[in-house]
């Protein structure tokens, strides 16, 4: 059994192992955060991770690490979108001008897309990836308490804004 207090770093597994183990979850996470831009963000995430990988010092939580990278890439993408001019006829009636979701999803993910960034990421981690609050907290760099609050507030808002 690997122990957390070993005095030497764990060897880094072949990168393909991470991709096989977490690729699917990273993609689902990004789909729920950036919709149609998920494939682009997915590539950016893995390329950034691959670039940093040989210098990674702690291989004990690679899933958390790759989800953190994905979260950062999604936030970058969301912020970049907000800076882009949006054609007048595409202006939504309310909320941030986020795009990228098919109308076929009956509005749930479009409603997720207009949640404040922290709530949206917390909700996606908690439900889409079935992450424990501790994992939500570690990926987003918040306390567990804040993670719970973000999930709770996000759900509350979805209940009002998304007509079930």
């Amino acid at each position: 059994m690997p122990r957390s207090d070993v005095p030497y770093p764990l060897p880094l597994p072949p990168f393909q192992e991470l991709l096989d183990a977490h690729g699917r979850d990273v993609h689902r996470f990004l789909q729920s955060l950036v919709g149609q831009d998920a494939d682009d963000c997915y590539q950016e995430t893995w390329i950034a991770a691959l670039r940093a990988y040989p210098r990674l010092r702690d291989a004990s939580n690679l899933r958390g690490w790759i989800l953190t990278v994905a979260h950062r890439k999604a936030i970058d993408r969301i912020r970049a979108r907000r800076r882009e001019p949006v054609p007048v006829h595409e202006l939504p009636e309310r909320g941030a001008p986020d795009r990228g979701f098919e109308p076929g999803d009956d509005g749930l993910w479009a409603a997720v897309a207009v949640l404040p960034d922290k709530q949206r990421a917390a909700v996606a981690l908690r439900f889409v990836l079935d992450a424990a609050y501790a994992e939500v907290a570690s990926v987003m760099g918040t306390s567990e308490e804040a993670a719970r609050r973000n999930v709770h507030e996000g759900l509350k808002r979805l209940r009002t804004e998304y007509a079930q």
Binding site: F15, Q16, H27, P54, V128, Q164
Partner: protein, 204 residues
């Protein structure tokens, strides 16, 4: 669980199931594909072929005791942890191996990355590389060519640890007197390779 939570758990309904796109081409374009590998079928069973930007670095007999995961872990530790499954970089090696097994090729042209070999072992393997198709040598001769006439045991060890069998033809090294000696992939494979080469080289 509320119906809202249940729906969230289902994730975004994407077109075509929304499976993740491959990343190996982008990794190669960014110069981050340090070790690309693929597995292929051959008359000697499944082979794992790994290449770096310098050349062929590893060839493993997967049906002869070499475990795919173990080979990849070893490459991650000894070459680079940036190891990805990717067919295009391996294509040239795959083609040459196919031609070799179909007796349409007697020499490999793909460059070799020698970095998994060192010192005397590397000299032994480089001497082995020069044994022509259809020909044979002995542990003793190879040891002297590598600069240590009495080092035939060490030469045997180096050949047994050959990271690139077939292409670096350690199957062409026999005991003095012509007995087969040993082979990392098992003696049967050594026999098959020698027979394959003999058939072509003895054609009138």
């Amino acid at each position: 669980m509320s119906s809202l939570e249940r729906k969230l758990r289902g994730g975004v309904p994407g077109p075509g199931g929304g499976s993740p796109p491959p990343i190996d081409a982008a990794a190669a374009a960014a110069g981050l594909l340090d070790v690309a590998y693929a597995t292929l079928d051959s008359p000697l069973g499944r082979l794992l072929v790994a290449v770096t930007p310098r050349g062929l670095v590893r060839l493993a007999y997967l049906d002869a005791g070499e475990d795919e995961d173990a080979v990849l872990v070893d490459l991650a530790a000894r070459v680079s942890p940036r190891v990805l499954a990717s067919a295009p970089p391996v294509d040239a090696a795959r083609r040459e191996l196919d031609e070799y097994f179909e007796r349409r090729r007697t020499e490999f042209e793909i460059p070799i990355d020698w970095r998994l070999t060192h010192g005397f072992g590397r000299r032994v393997l480089r001497a082995t590389e020069r044994i022509p198709y259809g020909g044979v040598s002995s542990y003793k001769l190879i040891a002297s060519e590598a600069g240590s006439p009495r080092g035939f045991r060490a030469a045997g060890n180096a050949l047994g640890a050959n990271p690139i069998p077939i292409v670096v033809p350690c199957h062409r090294v026999l005991l003095t007197g012509g007995k087969l000696g040993g082979y990392g992939g098992g003696l049967e494979r050594k026999r098959v390779l020698l027979a394959l080469e003999r058939q072509l080289s003895e054609r009138p």
